[in-house]
């Protein structure tokens, strides 16, 4: 009986996040620098007509952008939750195994040494993220526990950032500014052809990640306990790291660096719904999507016609909010 009510409250929590996500998505689609009247939009959705430019703005600029935000947020939230469970460390996020450093290095190489452009920068960032994670994992395998992987990640991060420094010294002013903005992230690169392969990709890798909730729960008990519960730890670690890299690398490649979501959303979810990964994983997924959708909405409507970098918004709002939440939690 107790179990049932427990389940229900988690169901409710998940449902609440999902409802919030739907509302946020609607708001993000209807609001932006270009004024669109809600009734016009509803009429248009029901088959009516709308101003040609407004239709184009919604269909080709705003909608792809909102969808990219949902996918990226979900990918970041989910992989953050998995990383924190895998390393049994609340500070873990995909950057820990060199993923962000690899992506940034790839982007810098593309911006400074080639002509740039979204396709090249994204491609290089993707290869960089996967390469760095693979390298950290291979080096870390020499050690039987997580410490090896962690140290290898730190080494890869250091090497990545110094290589980046070397390139930055040679960059000109315009390239430096491009780079600064890339590191602060943006969803403006969204278009339908990117989404056409990103959406199925993220959906598949996310589902594969979520299937491991039992193993992640076992990991909470410790390495030995995980083994005795019948999980092959090295194999599990390899599989999870690969899946995380495959989930996050393409989103980072398209959006640039968006901090904070992967770190904080799983925390919020655990504070609210408890540590059972059966709930933490889907809730982090939805919560990440919600957070990024809201952040992008703020980025677009805060000071039109200008746009703020989204990474800036996530940390600017998320940081103080998180501090407040922790303080409140301590008092309770």
């Amino acid at each position: 009986m107790l179990r049932l009510t427990n389940l229900n409250s988690r169901h409710r929590g998940l449902l609440l996040i999902a409802t919030g996500l739907c509302l946020a998505t609607l708001m993000a689609i209807t609001q932006g620098a270009y004024p669109i009247i809600l009734m016009d939009l509803i009429g248009w959705l029901l088959g009516g007509s709308m101003d040609q430019v407004a239709e184009n703005v919604v269909l080709n600029i705003r909608l792809p952008r909102v969808l990219l935000g949902l996918l990226t947020g979900a990918a970041l939230g989910l992989s953050g939750a998995v990383m924190q469970a895998l390393f049994r460390n609340p500070l873990a996020e995909p950057g820990l195994v060199g993923l962000s450093a690899g992506a940034s290095l790839g982007a810098v190489i593309a911006i400074v040494l080639t002509s740039g452009g979204l396709l090249l920068v994204g491609g290089f960032a993707f290869i960089g993220a996967l390469g760095a994670t693979f390298l950290a994992y291979t080096l870390g395998q020499r050690s039987s526990n997580n410490a090896g992987l962690l140290l290898a990640g730190i080494a890869i991060n250091t090497i990545g950032f110094s290589a980046m420094g070397l390139l930055i010294v040679q960059a000109n002013d315009a390239e430096l500014r491009d780079l600064t903005f890339w590191n602060m992230g943006s969803l403006a690169g969204a278009n339908w052809s990117i989404l056409a392969w990103l959406a199925p990709w993220i959906t598949v890798t996310s589902c594969l990640l979520m299937r491991h909730w039992r193993a992640l729960n076992a990991l909470l008990l410790g390495d030995h306990e995980t083994f005795h519960l019948g999980f092959d730890l090295p194999q599990l670690r390899g599989r999870l790291i690969t899946l995380i890299a495959l989930t996050v690398a393409p989103t980072v490649a398209v959006t640039g660096g968006i901090g904070f979501v992967g770190l904080v959303i799983p925390h919020l979810v655990r504070l609210w719904l408890g540590a059972d990964h059966r709930w933490v994983l889907p809730a982090s997924c939805l919560g990440g999507a919600l957070a990024l959708t809201l952040a992008d909405w703020v980025a677009r409507v805060a000071m039109p016609p200008m746009e703020l970098p989204i990474g800036l918004v996530t940390s600017l709002i998320g940081g103080p909010f998180f501090v407040w939440l922790l303080m409140r939690d301590k008092q309770a």
């Binding site: 932006g32 270009y34 040679q170 016609p305």
Partner: protein, 288 residues
């Protein structure tokens, strides 16, 4: 019967007249890039401007218009929200994705030449004038520009060793090859001792002493951030240069130093005046 035809005629005339006015009225122009905005003002096209970007600092009136942010990071929807009928962008504007999106929205967007050369400036003026229907104004502006530039450059070339330095965030940077500052020094008849380096790089006292520039150009905001010209002269990096020893330190207004614009003659003549006035002083300085 007469009444009907009268009304019809008047109505038609008003409509046609209204159309002509409406066309001039409904040109809604957005300028992207400081070097573009300035020329639009010079051509008298500012009456149509409904927005600019962050780099459009001159003339000051441009700063009062809605600002779409950094022109290499254009927000497509933000630009569209100003409902422009024409966007004139520097060829350096981007990202390409935003430019594509704006064109897909049916907005006419033209890019104009924007390199730090006089030829590019000429091309830019003509391109902008054609786009806003002011082609007849361009020759006079360009002729005046060429004349003042020739006048500012004078007949002889000082052929001195020079460098441009800026101080933005606690570190003194020198302008290398490819920068606007490099092109300005060359036009002023000076040799940029840093031309082999790419863009702006941090300077060290040893390198600067070895390069021994005769002339140092520094922006006014840099002087301000260092707390006055006496601090610039006393700084460890510049102290041991012939430029400081002979008092050939030229302070240049930031807006003049940044852009390769129609005010180039003014920039060149400020630099040349700085050198000429110290020329007069130099025998005096040597007796000390």
């Amino acid at each position: 019967m007469f009444g009907f035809w009268h009304k019809f005629l008047v109505g038609t005339v008003t409509m046609v007249a209204g159309l002509g006015v409406a066309q001039a009225d409904t040109l809604r122009l957005i300028s992207l890039g400081g070097n573009v905005t300035e020329i639009i003002y010079a051509l008298g096209g500012d009456q149509w401007l409904v927005g600019t970007d962050q780099s459009s600092l001159y003339p000051l009136a441009a700063q009062d218009l809605p600002n779409v942010g950094y022109y290499r990071r254009l927000p497509a929807e933000g630009v569209a929200s100003l409902r422009p009928t024409l966007v004139i962008a520097s060829e350096n504007a981007g990202p390409p994705r935003s430019i594509e999106q704006l064109r897909a929205l049916g907005i006419t967007l033209i890019t104009v030449s924007d390199q730090p050369t006089v030829a590019s400036l000429h091309r830019r003026v003509n391109e902008i004038a054609r786009a806003i229907g002011r082609s007849s104004e361009a020759p006079a502006i360009l002729e005046k520009f060429d004349q003042s530039l020739a006048q500012a450059r004078g007949h002889f070339s000082p052929n001195m060793r020079a460098m441009t330095v800026v101080m933005r965030s606690g570190q003194m940077l020198g302008a290398g090859g490819g920068s606007t500052a490099d092109a300005i020094l060359k036009l002023a008849g000076l040799t940029n001792v840093l031309s082999s380096q790419a863009g702006y790089q941090p300077l060290s006292a040893e390198v600067v002493s070895a390069l021994a520039p005769d002339v140092i150009v520094i922006t006014s905001s840099s002087v301000e951030s260092m707390g006055g010209i006496q601090n610039v002269k006393a700084s460890a990096i510049l102290k041991h240069t012939p430029a400081v020893a002979n008092d050939r330190l030229i302070v240049l207004d930031d807006l003049l130093a940044q852009g390769f614009s129609l005010r180039l003659p003014e920039t060149i003549s400020q630099i040349r005046q700085g050198i000429d006035s110290t020329h007069l002083k130099s025998p005096h300085a040597q007796t000390h």
